[in-house]
Symmetry: C2
Subunit: 105 residues, 2 copies
Amino acid sequence: MLKNLFAAIPVDTSREAFDDLLNVPGLRIERIVSHGQKSPPGFWYEQDEDEWVIVLQGSATLQLEGRDTLVSLEPGDHYWIPAGLRHRVDATAPGRPTIWLAVHR
Amino acid sequence: MLKNLFAAIPVDTSREAFDDLLNVPGLRIERIVSHGQKSPPGFWYEQDEDEWVIVLQGSATLQLEGRDTLVSLEPGDHYWIPAGLRHRVDATAPGRPTIWLAVHR
């Protein structure tokens, strides 16, 4: 369990890193570090859990099924993704880490 | 509902500011901005809800009932406060805002 959100930023930029900050029944809080990764074309996340995300460093763009416009997330921007809402990560910032906090319940 | 965690930092430093980022049944995510405020001597929070907190800017010190040592929170440090655990804010950074994110459920 990661003790500090900004600690131990992985040096391997070839993949995203997922670390729990909290994991109790019904609530999981996760740090995600992206390095330019995005969802493959045509791939959609479809989750049974509600998810709230915030970008704290870097930037990201979300695509939501059925919406014409993308959701741009700069540091401090957050977004609520209710269970079942299909979504994908259209982009994360290239060349620097994007740090997300994700609350799943 | 506040759209960005780092936006609209209140200029009134005479009191703490509390703003929801999310409020859905069973989950509330709140930004707290402190300017050196702390809990009055002898005051304890005692909550029916679980709370997870993280400090993102500034610093804070928590006191938990029954523990001899204080919990020091620097940016990125987080802490889980289960329902019923009496606690107080022993200090927040003077002269600059301390930005907390608090997840209540």
